[in-house]
């Protein structure tokens, strides 16, 4: 089995990333769960047959529904492969009578909402347009590790003379490739952006014509910009002269593309931070043109979603029926414990690892232990799977056909079934089919197709009707660009906002979220307890994992050194720590231990440890992270926690 690049796909003409390559091992791994498991009284798992497992689950779900109602079940689902077949679970639980659901999202909704409020929708130019930029600002993003396909386009731009600027408190592997690296303190990006906006306006480095035609709220914004370069230096740590230099590049060296990451919006002020950074693209007229843009996310290939992100994350008690959405993703544990009428009694988890990845691990563990029945659909013995009463083996991406879009690439792609599932692995669609039968539920083929990949493909064929260029046969030949795609986003200068213009002043922001209608900056608010701890705890993603996935595979372990807690030399010396020794990171809510790496890649005052490392590998950063929401969009403010460190050997 080989995974090879397809040069006909303009977004990803080169090879796959290391995670993509490692699917070869992931599919065939001897550690993969391929038979259902049930937890016995002794706490150990035993294998049972898929029929026994489904009988048992059917009985339990039926009984729980009868006794406490279907809303006593929490259906927790992640994005998985983001394919259309994800909808089948929705159909099942809807027919079941609805469940309790989460709202919000752990990843990126503050930024999505910031872009939507300002520009009306969330999209950007096609990835290959990036090489037409004269300046690229990679702001809080690390594509070298988390979007490696973008590196080719950045490199091509650089080879044509483009200036590459990275803004990040960490010297990332991406920063190694840049011309300039600005290192503001975490959570202060908004102040930097607002100071830059003021310099741009004061020095006439803005596009008046573009603003006059397309922007609402410029005058209000101009009057509100009060952060001077000197104040910005105090807040961010970037010297005044460098802030002015950066403004000059932004204002004069277009076209400018900004590549914002999701890390800088995982703060209490995340939404306003993204709105502030987006100002720079708008004021300089870098929207709707080749080589320019604000590439937060490109949802143009999500043509089959009735409600697009971020709106789909927000609870709407009428439209959500029969589901009820009362639990915040960011505050999963405490919200689960608070839920009443009925209380939560059971959880069904698929495509997710909430025990490890949700903020405030202690509260999540407590909430889970209060439940009477836990079903987890998984491929490996993750920390969440290990907590289950029954584990159902999950399909791998090669084992069922599906249709997928992307939030970066503009293609719609068919993902064919290429191998037979091992053991008794069953795709979710079939699990739900058999459960519906056992529960005597009335479901149509349209809702849940009969088992067999032919039936899934038939289901997909029906599902994608409506766009003539998209048929299964077309997709089988090659990826297809999304119908209606704007290669240059907003080249028509039509914005789907209430005013039809770019809204720097947004009534909706005020009405919906209670924030200022203008972009503004508020420092991170720390509790009294928090302030006792001197260091900021950042938990970024790394190139070898997608959150908690892939790190268990041999090929990943072999090609990546063991994960280290990284600190600056300054903080190491003041605590007499030795490179490579074991240290303890702790704060008022938890602690963890792992080895330390002393490195100039980290600013003084920071402790950096990737998220997604399993408990048994010394990971579990969420033990130190409190459950807080972002200012808008119901995201999780992962990066606002403080810690202290000490040596343990």
């Amino acid at each position: 089995m080989r995974i090879l690049p397809y040069s006909g796909n303009l977004a990803t003409p080169e090879g796959p990333c290391i995670k993509g390559l490692s699917y070869i091992e992931r599919t065939h791994s001897p550690e993969r769960i391929i038979h259902p498991k049930i937890k016995t009284a002794s706490g150990k798992f035993e294998e049972i047959s898929i029929d026994e497992a489904l009988d048992l689950i059917g009985n339990r779900l039926g009984a729980i529904k009868e006794k406490w109602g279907s809303h006593s079940i929490l259906w927790y689902r992640g994005s998985g492969m983001s394919g259309l077949t994800n909808e089948i679970g929705n159909s099942f639980w809807k027919a079941f009578g609805g469940t309790t659901l989460t709202y919000g999202n752990l990843c990126w909704p503050a930024g999505l909402e910031a872009v939507r409020l300002t520009l009306g929708s969330v999209k950007h130019n096609v990835p290959w347009d990036l090489e037409n930029a004269k300046t690229i600002i990679i702001w809080g993003k690390n594509p070298a590790e988390t979007n490696i396909q973008e590196i080719s386009f950045i490199a091509r731009a650089k080879e044509k003379g483009c200036t590459i600027i990275v803004i990040d408190p960490l010297r990332t592997l991406t920063a190694d490739k840049a011309d300039m690296l600005f290192r503001p303190r975490p959570g202060t990006d908004g102040a930097l952006a607002l100071a830059l906006a003021r310099i741009l306006i004061d020095n006439d480095l803005i596009d008046y014509e573009f603003i006059a035609k397309n922007v609402m709220g410029f005058d209000e914004l101009r009057q509100s910009l009060h952060i001077s370069p000197a104040e910005a230096e105090l807040i961010t740590g970037i010297p005044v002269e460098n802030i002015i230099e950066l403004a000059r590049i932004i204002g004069t060296n277009g076209p400018l593309t900004i590549l914002p990451g999701y890390g800088l919006q995982r703060h209490q002020n995340g939404g306003q931070t993204i709105r502030s950074v987006l100002l720079l693209s708008v004021l300089t007229g870098n929207i709707g043109k080749s080589g320019s843009g604000f590439n937060y996310a490109n949802l143009q290939s999500y043509i089959y979603d009735d409600v697009k992100e971020p709106l789909s994350y927000f609870a709407d008690s009428e439209k959500d029926m029969p589901f009820r959405r009362t639990i915040s993703m960011a505050k999963l544990g405490s919200d689960m414990l608070k839920t009443k009428d009925p209380e939560l009694k059971a959880v069904w988890i698929e495509r997710g690892n909430p025990l490890l990845q949700s903020p405030d691990t202690n509260s999540v563990k407590k909430a889970f232990s209060s439940l009477t029945f836990k079903v987890v659909v998984e491929q490996f013995m993750t920390d969440t799977a290990a907590d289950a009463d029954i584990i159902l083996p999950a399909k791998d991406m090669f084992e069922q056909s599906d249709i997928i879009g992307s939030y970066w690439s503009p293609y719609i792609q068919f993902k064919p079934k290429v191998i037979q599932s091992p053991g008794e692995v069953m795709p979710e669609s079939e699990i739900y089919y058999h459960l519906a039968k056992r529960l005597n539920m009335d479901v149509s083929q349209e809702m849940i197709p009969e088992p067999g990949n032919n039936n899934i493909e038939q289901w997909l064929e029906n599902r994608i009707k409506g766009y003539s260029e998209i048929t299964l046969d077309n997709l089988r030949m090659a990826p297809v660009l999304a119908p209606g795609l704007q290669q240059i986003a907003w080249e028509d200068l039509k914005f789907n906002t209430p005013s039809g213009k770019i809204e720097l002043f947004s009534h909706e922001a005020k009405m919906k979220w209670g924030i200022s209608p203008l972009a503004d900056y508020t420092g991170i608010n720390h509790s009294k307890e928090d302030k006792k701890y001197p260091l900021v705890f950042l938990t970024p993603n790394t190139g070898s994992r997608i959150h908690s996935q892939f790190g268990n595979l041999k090929i990943i372990k072999e090609t990546n050194p063991e994960p280290y807690i990284r600190i600056s030399p300054v903080d190491a010396i003041s605590r007499s720590l030795i490179d490579g020794q074991k240290i303890r990171v702790f704060n008022q809510i938890g602690e963890l231990k792992s080895r330390v790496k002393i490195t100039n890649r980290v600013l003084p005052g920071l402790v950096v440890f990737p998220n997604g490392i399993w408990f048994n590998e010394g990971g579990g950063v969420n033990q130190l992270i409190s459950g807080q929401e972002t200012d808008i969009g119901f995201g999780a403010a992962f990066h606002d926690n403080r810690v202290e460190i000490e040596g343990v050997d």
Partner: protein
């Protein structure tokens, strides 16, 4: 035109996809391809430079020439240098000879594995797995034009081997400006400093030291006219033989170790040992005085051939004129035991110069300095006693003196540092670091 790897460091972000693809395609249990990084922790405003490297399939393949078992061959269509794992004896000599860290010892198979250029696919028109997988276009495979190694690769070793690799990145490269200006990494960051670990070389120390003792004994016998004790003499040879035999990965194939007499200094050394062991055993067992001179000459040639094994691979000249070489060691032992003062003084002076020279040029840690001090004492004190008494020294003094020589041999392995990309990167970083501090 020659084919080879073409590498653009400005596109390489150290993602390791090349290394993973190599393993997944070929099922290795070792890592034939690795990314070497200069300044991986981004110190002191210095650039970070990545280099993805497997075997460069050199025109002058030192791994192949030096291999005592002739286990390497050049594949005729692709020019790939390939190791036949069924011929490899696991002596690991190629790991010393290759400056690119390409041959990897597979501790399961107990033989060397290395990049074979995915040659069977290449012949069918498929590119190697590593360059196919590279997601950024940093690593490609194709026709080499000009092998320009460029200034960012000042640490790239031994271009004379004519490696099949080309770098294409320099014109795009600009050093990173970091804002706010970086605080240079303080010198007092505590690091886990480990000296060079020579436990892997233990069998070689024993073998070469016993060989030195044996040859010195034969020559002393020739000078003094007294044959050594049969059983002790034979035991020394047998132990030396067994030790070197068992240090091979594949003992049953040890007969292959002498089949590359034409090119491999290691083959010659092993052959010389066999001849010397045979002739000297006959001499000592049958006590044939005329054969003592033959044994002495063969013994000295044998020792020269031992030294040559290291000189051949020591292209960085780390142990040139080292006081721990076997030839000079045997001669000084002979002169000491036989009480011949003038030659002894002459050779002791050479040794002292060599020791002090290394104290000056090498960066040494504390345990090294202790060893070198002991070594000097164990040479000077017995030497003074020899000069003052001007007679054959007693057995206690001889043992002290021999311990000194053993320490010298151990120091030889500590100082022996074959040309290797890992150490070159460290050395370059140290140099640049110090230069930055002076700025």
């Amino acid at each position: 035109m020659r084919n080879g790897f073409i590498f653009n460091h400005t596109r390489c972000v150290n993602c390791n996809a090349c290394s993973a693809a190599c393993i997944l395609e070929n099922g290795w249990t070792v890592h034939p391809r690795n990314i070497f990084t200069y300044n991986s922790e981004a110190e002191n405003v210095l650039p970070v430079i990545n280099l993805s490297l497997a075997c460069n399939h050199c025109e002058s393949a030192v791994c192949m020439n030096g291999c005592p078992a002739s286990a390497f061959y050049r594949e005729s269509v692709t020019g790939a240098v390939i190791i036949d794992e069924n011929k490899c004896i696991g002596c690991r000599y190629c790991q010393w000879n290759c400056p690119y860290d390409a041959p990897k010892f597979d501790s399961g198979k107990r033989t060397i594995s290395k990049c074979h250029l995915c040659y069977s696919g290449l012949i069918e028109g498929r590119q190697p797995a590593c360059s196919t997988a590279c997601p950024t276009g940093a690593l490609t495979f194709g026709q080499l034009s000009d092998t320009d190694f460029g200034s960012v690769y000042s640490w790239f070793p031994d271009k004379k081997l004519n490696p099949a690799i080309e770098f294409t990145s320099n014109k795009y490269y600009t050093p990173l400006v970091v804002i706010p200006k970086e605080i240079p990494r303080p010198a007092d960051v505590k690091q886990n400093k480990k000296g060079k670990n020579i436990s892997g070389e233990l069998s070689l120390i024993i073998f070469s030291f016993l060989a030195t003792i044996s040859v010195a004994t034969i020559i002393s016998s020739f000078i003094g006219g007294v044959f050594p004790d049969r059983s002790i003499f034979i035991s020394v040879l047998v132990i030396a033989g067994i030790v070197s035999f068992f240090h091979l990965g594949r003992i049953l194939r040890s007969w292959r170790s002498v089949i590359n007499l034409r090119n491999s200094p290691l083959s010659r050394e092993i052959a010389a040992f066999i001849v010397y062991a045979g002739v000297s055993s006959v001499t000592v067992i049958l006590r044939i005085p005329v054969l003592l001179i033959a044994s002495s000459i063969i013994g000295l040639i044998f020792l020269l051939l031992i030294d040559n094994v290291y000189i051949y691979t020591d292209r960085k000249k780390t142990v040139i004129l080292h006081s721990g070489q076997t030839f000079i060691s045997a001669l000084i032992i002979v002169s000491f035991i036989s009480g011949i003062v003038l030659p002894f003084v002459f050779m002791a002076l050479i040794k002292l110069v060599s020791i002090f020279y290394r104290l000056l040029v090498n960066k040494l840690n504390n345990s090294d300095i202790t060893l070198r001090f002991l070594r000097t004492v164990f040479l000077v004190v017995p030497g003074m006693s020899l000069i003052l008494h001007n007679s054959n020294p007693d057995i206690f003094i001889i043992i002290i003196f021999l311990i000194g020589e053993l320490i010298d041999r151990i120091l030889f392995y500590i100082d022996f540092n074959p040309l290797n990309i890992n150490t070159l990167i460290d050395e370059q970083l140290n140099l640049d670091r110090n230069e930055k501090k002076r700025d």
